[in-house]
Symmetry: D2
Subunit: 334 residues, 4 copies
C-alpha cells in the first residue's frame, strides 16, 4: 500500500484514452492538432491569453520558467524547502546557466512578503552581489500547505514593486485549487504570476506537465530553450492529448478532489496532536515514534520518514479507498 508519493500513481483512464486516440501517424513535435489547441484551452481555463507549452517533467517546467525569468548572473528567491532548491539536482542552475538560488526559511515551505522584503533589503546594489531577479513559490507547498489568492497577491505585489519575475511551481496546483475553491486565475495571473508549472503527472497524467506563461512575451525564447534541452518530444501529440483530456470535464479537478479527500481522511484519523501541519492538499505529515513507524510498515504501508519523528503520507487521485481506510485505522490504533 503505497503512500510514498503521488509520483507513483497510475495514469487516469481519460489520459490513457487520449494517448490511444492520438496514436496514429500525425505531424511531429508540436505541429499536431492536439498541441495546437493548448493555448486556446488553457487561455479559456485561465480567463486570459496564455502561452501553454507541454513538457514531460515538472523539473523541466520549473527550470524553463526560471530561465525565462532570471539571467545567469541573477538570483531566484525561494523557500529553503522548495523542490527547486532541494530535489532537482541543480536543474534550475543548469537551465539558468548558473543563477543562484536564494533560499529563505518559512514554516511549511511557505514564503511571506515580510521575510522576502527583509532579505531583499540586505542585497547591496553593486556588481559584487548577485541581484535577485525572480521569486518562486510552490502551491501547494512541499509540505502540503496552500497559499490563498490573497497571500499570493501580496507576494505578487512585492515582485512587481521590486521588479522580480514571479513563478509558481504548481506540481500540485490542482490540489491547491480544489482546497481553495477559487479560480485558477485568482491564484495566478490576477495575483501577479508570470509563469506557472502546472502539474498533471502527479494528478493522473502519464507524463504531462504544462508550462503556462501569463507573461506571454516569455514564451518565444522558451520554445527554443525547450528544444535545446531535448524536451520537444517528437510525438508531442501524446502530451497535448493528455492535457486536453484532463482539462475536459474537469478531470483534473475530479482527480485532485479524490486525492485531497483521501488525505483528509487520514488527517482526521491522525488528529491534531499527531499532525505536524494542517492538511490542505494531499500530503499528511504526522508525528510518529520509530516504533510506530515500524508498526505501520509492518502492516504493509510504504511511506517516507521526513525528519526525525515525522512521516510523510501522500495520497493520489487513485489511492485505493480500502488502503486509505486501512491506513486511517492503523494510525488511529497507534
Amino acid at each position: 500500500m503505497r503512500f510514498f508519493s503521488d509520483n507513483a500513481a497510475a495514469g487516469c483512464p481519460e489520459a490513457l484514452a487520449a494517448i490511444e486516440t492520438a496514436n496514429r501517424i500525425d505531424t511531429a513535435y508540436d505541429g499536431d492538432a492536439w498541441s495546437g489547441r493548448l493555448n486556446r484551452a488553457f487561455s479559456d481555463l485561465f480567463e486570459t491569453e496564455v502561452e501553454a507549452l507541454w513538457v514531460a517533467t515538472g523539473t523541466a517546467a520549473n527550470s524553463l520558467a526560471l530561465a525565462a525569468l532570471c539571467p545567469p548572473h541573477g538570483g531566484v528567491v525561494c523557500n529553503s524547502d522548495a523542490h527547486i532548491q532541494n530535489d532537482e539536482c541543480g536543474a534550475p542552475e543548469f537551465y539558468t546557466h548558473g543563477a543562484k538560488l536564494m533560499p529563505l526559511p518559512g514554516e511549511g515551505a511557505k514564503l511571506n512578503p515580510d521575510s522576502v522584503a527583509a532579505f531583499l533589503g540586505t542585497v547591496r546594489d553593486a556588481v559584487h552581489w548577485v541581484q535577485p531577479a525572480a521569486l518562486s513559490i510552490t502551491n501547494a507547498t512541499e509540505y502540503g500547505l496552500v497559499y490563498t489568492p490573497e497571500e499570493t497577491a501580496a507576494l505578487g505585489a512585492l515582485c512587481k514593486a521590486r521588479n522580480l519575475g514571479f513563478h509558481i511551481d504548481g506540481a500540485r496546483f490542482a490540489n491547491a485549487v480544489v482546497h481553495l475553491g477559487c479560480t485558477p486565475a485568482d491564484l495566478t495571473w490576477r495575483a501577479g504570476a508570470d509563469a506557472l508549472s502546472f502539474g498533471f503527472t502527479k494528478n493522473g497524467g502519464f507524463f504531462a506537465e504544462c508550462l503556462i506563461f501569463f507573461n506571454t512575451a516569455l514564451a518565444a525564447a522558451t520554445r527554443y530553450r525547450r528544444k535545446r534541452a531535448g524536451h520537444l518530444l517528437s510525438k508531442g501529440r501524446y502530451l497535448g492529448a493528455q492535457l486536453l483530456a484532463m482539462l475536459e470535464n474537469d478531470v483534473w479537478l475530479r482527480n485532485a478532489r479524490a486525492a485531497n479527500a483521501a488525505a483528509a481522511r487520514i488527517a482526521a484519523a491522525a488528529g491534531s496532536d499527531r499532525l505536524v501541519l494542517p492538511v490542505q492538499a494531499n500530503e499528511v505529515f504526522v508525528r510518529v515514534t520509530p516504533d510506530e513507524a515500524a508498526a505501520l510498515r509492518a502492516k504493509g504501508f510504504d511511506f517516507y520518514d521526513w525528519g526525525p519523528g515525522e512521516a510523510r503520507l501522500v495520497t493520489s487521485w487513485d489511492s485505493d479507498p480500502a488502503h486509505v481506510d486501512a491506513l486511517a485505522a492503523a494510525i488511529r490504533a497507534l
Copy 2:
C-alpha cells in the same frame, strides 16, 4: 499520406500494451521493475555489460552522451549534416556547457577516417585551440546511408589512437542493423563505440530512447546529468516498459524491417537515375523537378523538399502498404 518523417509514426501495439501494463501505482523515477531490468536486457542484446538509461528524446540521448565524452572546453567532430550539428537547436552545446562542434564534409552525411585524421592533424596542441575530445557519427545517417561494422571499426580505431570518445547517434540504429544483418555488438562496442543513442521512438515507440554506455564508467555521472536536465521522468516505468516490450520477440527488428522494405519498394520504383543516394535504410532521396514534386503533392503525398531538386521520402514501421504502393506508382508515372 505522410512521408515526412518516421517521427510522425504511431506507436506500435506492443509498446502501447506495455504502457497499459505498467499503468499502476509503482515506484517512481527509475525505481520500478521495468526500468530495473534495462541493464540486463540490453547487456544481453549487446553481448557485453552495458549501462542503459531511458530518456524521452533522441536529442537528450545524444546530448547526454556528448556531455559524458567531451569537456566544456573540448570539441566534437561530426559530419556537417549531422543532426547534432543542425537540428537540435544547440542542445549539444547546452549539455556540454559550450563544447564546440567541429563539422566535416562527407557525402551522404558519412565521415571517413582519412578526412577525420586530416582534420585532427590541423589542430595545434595548445590552449588557444579547442581540442577535439569526441567523435560522433550517425548510423544510419541523416541521408539514410549505413556504416558497416568495418567502417565503424576504422573510425573506432582512430578514436582510440587519438584518445577521442566515440558516440553513435542511432536514431535509426535498428534500420542499420536490419540492412546489414549484423549483430548490434558488431556495429557498436566491438567497433570501439563508447556510447550509443539507441532510437526507439521513430521505430514504433511512443516516447522511448535508450542511451547505452559500453564504457560503463560514464553512466554514474550521466544519471545525475539526466536528472539535472529534467529528463528523469517520474513515471519512468512507462519508458522502461516500452523498451523491454520492443526488445522482446525482436519487435524492434520487425518494425525496422517493415520500414526498410517500404523504402526499398519506393527506391525500386524511382530507379537509379532518380535516386540521389543508395537506399539502405528507410529514407529515400529522389531527384524531382518542382513540377514533379507538385504533382506528387497533388496526389496527396506529404514530404519535405531537401535541397534544390530533391525530395526526402521517409517510411516508417507503420507505413500503409497501400500508400507505399501508391507512392511507388506515382513516382514511376512521373
Copy 3:
C-alpha cells in the same frame, strides 16, 4: 628579432608612466578616478555617448560583447578565420553559455553582406535551428585587411534589417583607423556597430583593452558579467590609467602609425608577387618556400608559418627600425 606577434611587444612609456602615477592607495575595482573618466574620454573620442569598460584581455572583451548580443540559444555569424572562432579556446561559447559560432568563408578573413545574407537565407525560422543573433567582424582582420566605413556600414545595415547585434573585434582597431584616416565614429556606430572590442595591449598597453558599447543599454548587465567572469580587477586604476594615457595626445594613433609604417616597409621590400594579400595594417603575409623561411630564420628573424608556403610577419609600435630594415633587406635578397 621578433616578428611573431604584436602581442609580444613592450608597453609604451606613456602607459608605464600611467601605471606608476596610479600606484598609490585608492579606491578598489573601478571606483577610482581614472576608471571613472573612461566613459567621458571615450565618448569624446567617438563623438557619441558610449559606455566604456576596461578588461585585461581581448578575449574577455570579445566574449563579453557577444554575451551581451547573443542569447545562449542563438548564433554568431563570423568569418571562418575569425579569432573568436579559432583562437580563443571556446571563450565565446563559455561566456554566451553555448551560443553557436557560424563561420562563413571570405578572403582575407573578411565578410561581405552578400555571403552573410545568403547564409541567413538558409536558416529556417523554427526551433530546431539555431537562429543567428549577432554578427562579428574583425577590423583590421586577422589577415591585416581593413574594412572601410562603407563596407562596415553595409554590414551594419544588414544587421539592422535582420535584427542582428553587430560586434567589431578591434584588437587592431587603431591600425585600421590609421590606415583609413577616418574617424573612430565612422568605423563603428555610424556604421551600425553595437559594440567594439577596442584593443590597446597589442598597441603599446601592458594589459589594457576597452569594451565600448554604442548600444549603451547593454552595459549594465555586462558589468555584472565582467565581475562574474573574474575580470573586475581589484586595482582597476592601473587599467583606467593606461587607457587614458594612450588616448591622451593620440598616443594610440602614434603607436599604430609606427606599426603600420614598419609593415609597409616590409611589404614594399616583398613586392606584390610575394604578398599574399595587400598590406593595410601591421601584418604582412608573404609567400616563401621552406628554404626561404629557413634562411630568414637563420638570420635571426622569428615569425610564424601560416599555411603552406606562407609566413606571417607582424610589426608593432616598438618594432626596432634596424630590425625592420634588416628584415626588408633579407626579404629583398631572397
Copy 4:
C-alpha cells in the same frame, strides 16, 4: 586615510621594478622566461612539486580551482560568509557551469569538521540531490581569523575520507603564514589541500594572483579553462615577473608582516571589549556606535560598516605608520 580594504593598496617597489624589467619584446602569453620559472619557484616554496598558474584576480583563481574540483552537477561546501558565496557575483557558478554552493554557518567565517560532517550526513546519495564534491575554506578568513595547520589538516582528512576536493582561498594566505610562523607546506598540501588561490594583489602586487595545484593532475585542463575564460593575458610576463619578485627575498612575507603589525597596533588600541573577534591577520573588526563611527570618519578615516554596530578596519603592506598611529589614538580616545 584609507582602511577600506587591502584591495586599495599600492603595488610594492619590487613588483613595479619587475614590471619594468619585463617590459621588452618577448614571447606572448605564458611562453616567456618569467612565467616559465613559476612552477619551479613555487615548488621550492612549497617543498613539493606544484603547478602554478598566474591569473589577474582572486575571483578567477578561486573559480578556476573550483571548476577543477567540482563537476557542474556537484556542490561546494563553504562558510556562509565566504567570499566565493557572497562577493563574486556568482563567478563560481559561472566557471563550474552551475555547481551549487552549500554554505554552512561558522563563527568568524570558519568551518569546522564537525559541522561539515554533520551537513554531509544530511545529503542522501541519489540523483535528486546535488552531491558535495569539494570543500573551500578561506585562510585567513573574511573575518581575519586564521586556520592553524592542525585545523586545516582536520578538514583535509575529512575531505579525503569523503572524497571531496579541498580548496583554500588564500587571498590573505601570506597574512596567515606570518601569523602562524609555519611553512606554506604545513598550511596546504601537508594538510590535504588540492589547490590554493595564493593572493599577491592585496599584498603588494599590481595584478597578480597565483593558482597553485598540489594535485598537479588538475592543472592541464585548467590551463584550457584559463584561456577559455579570457584570463591568459597576452603579456603574461608582467604577471610572472611580479610573482617571482615577490617571492624573492621573502618580499611577500615582509609585506604581510607590515600589514599584520599595523592591525595589531590598532587592535591593541581597541582593547578586547571593542574587538568583535581576535585579530590574527590584517583585519580589525571593532564595536562602535554610530556616533563613534561618525567621529572616526570626521577625523578622516575611511572604512566600511560591517553589520550593525561594527566597523571593519583593514591594513595593508603600505599602511602609513602615521595613519595607523592616528587611527589607534582615535580609537583609544573614543
